[in-house]
Amino acid sequence: MTIDLTALAAPDFWIGVGIVAGIYSIFSLGLQLNVGFTGILNFGQAGFMAVGAYAMAILILKLHWPAPAAIAASTAIAMLAGIVIGAASLRLSGDYLAMATIAAAQLVGGVAQNAAPLTGGNQGLLGYDAAWAALARWMLARLRAVGLGDQSQLPLFIVTWAIFGLALALLTGLRGTPWGRVLRAIREDEAAAAALGKNVFAYKLQSLAIAAALAALAGDLLALNITLIYPQSFSADVTFIGFAVLVLGGLGSFAGVALGSVLLWTVLEAASFVRLPLAADKVAAVQMLIVGLVLIAVMVWRPEGLRGKREEMVLRG
């Protein structure tokens, strides 16, 4: 086992961590809306992410859509998927949505693997990021003027966190509205909300559709970051890490999601400098082990997460 920590001092290490952390922040904002603010268990967030990323790549590569239109369409398609899955399962009790989202994510993975003419199968898809590369070059030229021209990943970092900032502002704004208040009521007691005339089903569908849109945006950014997407890019591990981010940041805090994600990915990426004599699949297992340890450490120290409200946690029982 060897440890080389010099890379930790390099800016491109932190920019790389920041991009992944930002992508997972956007991804987990959707989970926070579902789990922390509506009380619905969406275990298929990685599936919506895959729908978004593949939709964008396919529209660009096969139908030659302009990238902005493809990105807009990819979020719309993911929202539609969320509405279909929600409509099929949300009228039943909460457990059915959890199962339906797991099943749907599996289905998306299966299609990505088997519809090779469209998705490239296990080889995946690449070459969808030409328009992005051009934009990044343009941004780098501007960044050069302020002396940041040699950080090639900086444009994606900026765009990712700008999208996170917009999504955070939107969701935080919505939380304070009467609409957000109904969601909180539903999270706490569906029957009480229904007794006051609220259409619980409609609110849950809206929550799920918004979460799916955020997953799709995160998927699009992930696709631009890794430049090659294949089915394993969106495995159930992604949803698991999303839930870890949620618990770390604190249930019911949108801003906490970013803190949780940055903390988790700093630890994960720093840990990857510890060179263990292990095969690739074992490394993934070690990664999950680290996620678990970070979770336990934070839970012991602050059960409500970094930004959760302990009082609400206790009162909701």
């Binding site: 919505l174 509205t177 009467p178 609409w179 208040r181 109904v182 909180r184 009521a185 706490e188 007691d189 029957a191 009480a192 909300a193 229904a194 007794a195 006051l196 005339g197 609220k198 259409n199 619980v200 809206q206 009082e311 609400e312 009162l315 909701r316 029982g317």
Partner: protein, 268 residues
């Protein structure tokens, strides 16, 4: 049982006919029929397990009936979703209080307001300006009601920090905010100290007097039933076995029998 005398004020506000609901082999509600007169305070009594709460659940859309009809204010509402029935103006409380504990008392009140268009995402995004004015008006109205219910000091506290009796008061205050025409209360006095209980009953009478709100309440406290209800409806084993003025119902042999029978079963 089938006698449903027409109310002096015209058609009953609630008309339930031959309602049935079974859970497995248990016929919780078994061809129950009853009518609630407009503007009345009506009590629904009966031994434990008589089907009173189930009847509430069927009438308010929280359970679907196997058979039978529910007519609210001349509209058939049988089998309609709970939120639709609530919006039509028939609202209920629950046997186990459902104050939203992790929300503030004030948010509990604002949630009940029925005239806030910004509760709907489409309208919120279409016109993000106007709702704040409505919200301010609702807040003023909510604080006025809380004042009256002696909960104003706790307006910003989490509802979960209130005592059990105060939560029941909050549930009633919340309904007042929503202004339904018919209120169904499931054991409003259970677990409430006598002082707060009298307060709750005073609010019920005041609401009827001021707004003409009709009340149907389930209650085991016989003294409260006899002193406050205009009409008493008695259920046993899923059926309505008697209906009348309190003092008549108390002497009804079928009623005495039902309660004694239930008592005998309890002790057997």
């Amino acid at each position: 049982m089938a006698s449903r005398p027409a109310a002096p004020g015209g058609a009953p506000i609630l008309d339930v006919r031959d309602l049935c609901r079974a859970f497995g082999g248990v016929r919780a509600v078994d061809r129950a029929s009853l009518a609630v007169e407009r503007g009345s305070i009506t009590a629904l009594i009966g031994p434990n397990g008589a089907g009173k709460t189930t009847l509430f659940n069927l009438v308010t859309g929280f359970l679907r009936p196997d058979a039978g009809d529910v007519v609210f204010d001349d509209q058939p509402v049988t089998g309609r979703p709970a939120h639709v029935i609530a919006r039509l103006g028939m609202m209920r409380t629950f046997q186990l209080t459902k104050a939203l504990a992790a929300m503030t008392v004030l948010d509990n009140m604002l949630l009940a307001a029925q005239d806030q268009p910004a509760e709907h995402l489409a309208r919120l995004l279409a016109g993000p300006a106007g709702w704040r004015r409505r919200e301010a008006a609702n807040r003023a109205r909510a604080l006025g009601i809380l004042e009256r219910f002696r909960l104003a000091a706790q307006a910003r506290a989490y509802a979960g920090t209130l005592s059990g009796g105060q939560r029941k008061l909050l549930e009633l205050a919340r309904l007042l905010m929503a202004a339904p025409r018919l209120v169904l209360l499931d054991e409003p006095l259970a677990g409430v100290n006598p002082v707060l209980g009298r307060e709750i009953l005073a609010h019920v009478h005041a609401l009827r007097r001021e707004r003409g709100t009709t009340f149907l309440f389930i209650e085991h406290d016989m003294e409260a039933v006899m002193n406050n209800a205009d009409t008493v409806i008695v259920m046993a084993q899923g059926r309505v076995i008697a209906r009348g003025r309190p003092r008549d119902v108390r002497r009804d042999p079928a009623v005495i029998d039902a309660y004694l029978g239930a008592h005998a079963e309890d002790t057997a």
